[in-house]
Symmetry: C2
Subunit: 431 residues, 2 copies
Amino acid sequence: MRATLRLGLLGFGTVGKALVRLVEAESPRLSRQLGVDLRFVAVASRALPRKPTDGLPPDARVTEDLLSVATASDVDVVVELLGGLDPAGPLVVAALGAGKGVVTANKALLAARGTELARIARDQGAALSFEAAVAGGIPILRAIRESFAGDRIDTVSGILNGTCNFVLTGMARTEGGYGGVLAEAQALGYAEADPAADVEGTDAACKLALLARLAFGQEVPLEAVRTEGITRLQPVDFVYAGMLGRTPRQLGIARRLADGRLLLSVRTHLVSNDSMLASVEGPFNAVQVSTARGGDFVFSGRGAGGEPTATAVLADIVEIARRDGGSGVPPFGTEAPAPFAPAGPADSVAPFYLRFVVRDRPGILAELASVLARHDVNVDAVFQAPWSGKSALPFVVTLEPVDEERLGRALVELAALPFHVEAPLALPMTP
Amino acid sequence: MRATLRLGLLGFGTVGKALVRLVEAESPRLSRQLGVDLRFVAVASRALPRKPTDGLPPDARVTEDLLSVATASDVDVVVELLGGLDPAGPLVVAALGAGKGVVTANKALLAARGTELARIARDQGAALSFEAAVAGGIPILRAIRESFAGDRIDTVSGILNGTCNFVLTGMARTEGGYGGVLAEAQALGYAEADPAADVEGTDAACKLALLARLAFGQEVPLEAVRTEGITRLQPVDFVYAGMLGRTPRQLGIARRLADGRLLLSVRTHLVSNDSMLASVEGPFNAVQVSTARGGDFVFSGRGAGGEPTATAVLADIVEIARRDGGSGVPPFGTEAPAPFAPAGPADSVAPFYLRFVVRDRPGILAELASVLARHDVNVDAVFQAPWSGKSALPFVVTLEPVDEERLGRALVELAALPFHVEAPLALPMTP
């Protein structure tokens, strides 16, 4: 089998440049070992390099007209690396509409319009691949779509955002504050100048929605993911977590209940120090898949960066070449996704960590405890580390497993008490 | 797309029974979500159940004539779960020769005759799939064959045998002896009555040879894997490993040198307690893939057992159904494997742990040290834990990184010294 694929590239940023370098470097091997010949025929970018020779593929035409490349008659596969909803969305629609295969790393677009794009791809008999959209180089989407096709997935969870993991493991290592570690992440290129999508959880929520669609075959909307950022974590939380034999990790979790409803969240959990997730450090990602028959699987690796993302894009391109265009497997694993069936906070039960920062005065613990008792929430233990601060006293109450509807009602009442210096922080504790 | 696949099953042991149950349970979902209809039309086994209804698929014919099922005109895909070289080998050849797809979990057969079988499959345009042969339910072969096609793999390594991992983590946990923990593994079904293939490393060596073929595109012979068992580990080794912040793990490692030659081994390493491999406990497997561009990836999960293996077999069957018979991707990832280029012990450099058990008398350390010095082997540290035994004294010497050719010469001379109660044990130490 020998396949030649003509590529049109939309976007020429970090990943685009890494992809061009990668294809150039690997072409001889791909041709010899796999019988796949790849050639960039066109590159479109709204911000072309000043020197047109800077890393551009040698024989490709270069243009600022994105649509002309998305629909060019000499392009077989369009590689969309622009990101965002617009103009990426209309361009992908145009490319699929013209019968071209599309490879994209655009998680925001797929989370917002994935089902629609998959339908267009199917109607046109065109491939739509997006392994790079979730967890960078970790081949988790292919694993879920194909390798677990014979099992029933109960939970997909994991560390889906390398920036957050870098910040949290940095805070754990250095006992530094959030701002300082974030600045370090920015200096190293692990966080963007505007880190909001990362640290507030939106990026991970997009990825979780895609994972959940693939794993459970439902039309999971992005809005269904309960999303909390990591911005409220303080050095003192790492001290208390350590006392509990735990460490904070931002986890996305999508769980199917026995009745088929889905529970989806992105937030900071305290994970056990001897869990595999605790050993995932720095900008790495890890995805755990729990299945009914095969048990638990963990996949870890670099979740972002130009090169890991480019290798995932290239693997998708190679697959399209090998499959001769049509992949046979629908992009989200199923031809007919079921409607979304959401679960609610009452379905989520976990032990919790509550951190309070209060103006010290007698009777505070009694007041907090009586609110918790009134809501039938059982306290497991109270922790107060030695503390030099005078005006604000942080301390921690751990709870026995409690459903989040009840906990939520208790937290509203707790937060209304008059002695808080800041709002209470509630983090679930995960094995 | 709707595909119906008629299955012929060879072998009706633990995995075969789990597969029949699994197909029965998952059929409605596979049909609805993936458009794949599976049906067992024939089951062949040399030891049929006494009661023919015991777990057999309802409408299948049942026979002891294996060849008749392997070549039956109403069978599309033959599932070979007999294990071993004979009669599995001739049966798989016959099935492929008759143009049938073959799904097998038979690592021994693939390690011995994989290249030949892949060639027959290609010539016949038939699928040959064997995800279940390595690391049970972990979809590592598909990941290497497809997801890393765009990257260059430098090393594939991991915990490939659940029995060994169960025994080693059991010894670490209980400080018990090898025999007792092995008996526990047998009672729990994690080790066979004859555990030789597991504990002596042959099973892991077969898997490593398959991984190396896929990762490096070379014709790796099983004999090229340097193989040592776990049978010589003693409780005292776990004590010393703990002093070094390490724990023993049986690892298979296949590494490509810069010049393309391959270094392959299965043996016990002392891994760092904070490595991800150290967090892999009990009967779990983990495979690490180190790539030139994407960095390091780890995949972990259940490596054996009826259900995880059956789910991997079913995923292969579903893939064949979805791809309409031919997968387009050659079984070993490349159409033209290169000849095997072996590296030698001089190419393998690592820090080492040497454990001696000697009759205590003055001057022993000086004699050992002088042999090491004569061979230019640098001692890093000497450890001697408090020890109550009188006649036999165990102690440990750790070495700075040393190439194994030189170390091997030194070990021959060390072993010839007259004071050993048993032969020295040498274990590499791995980050």
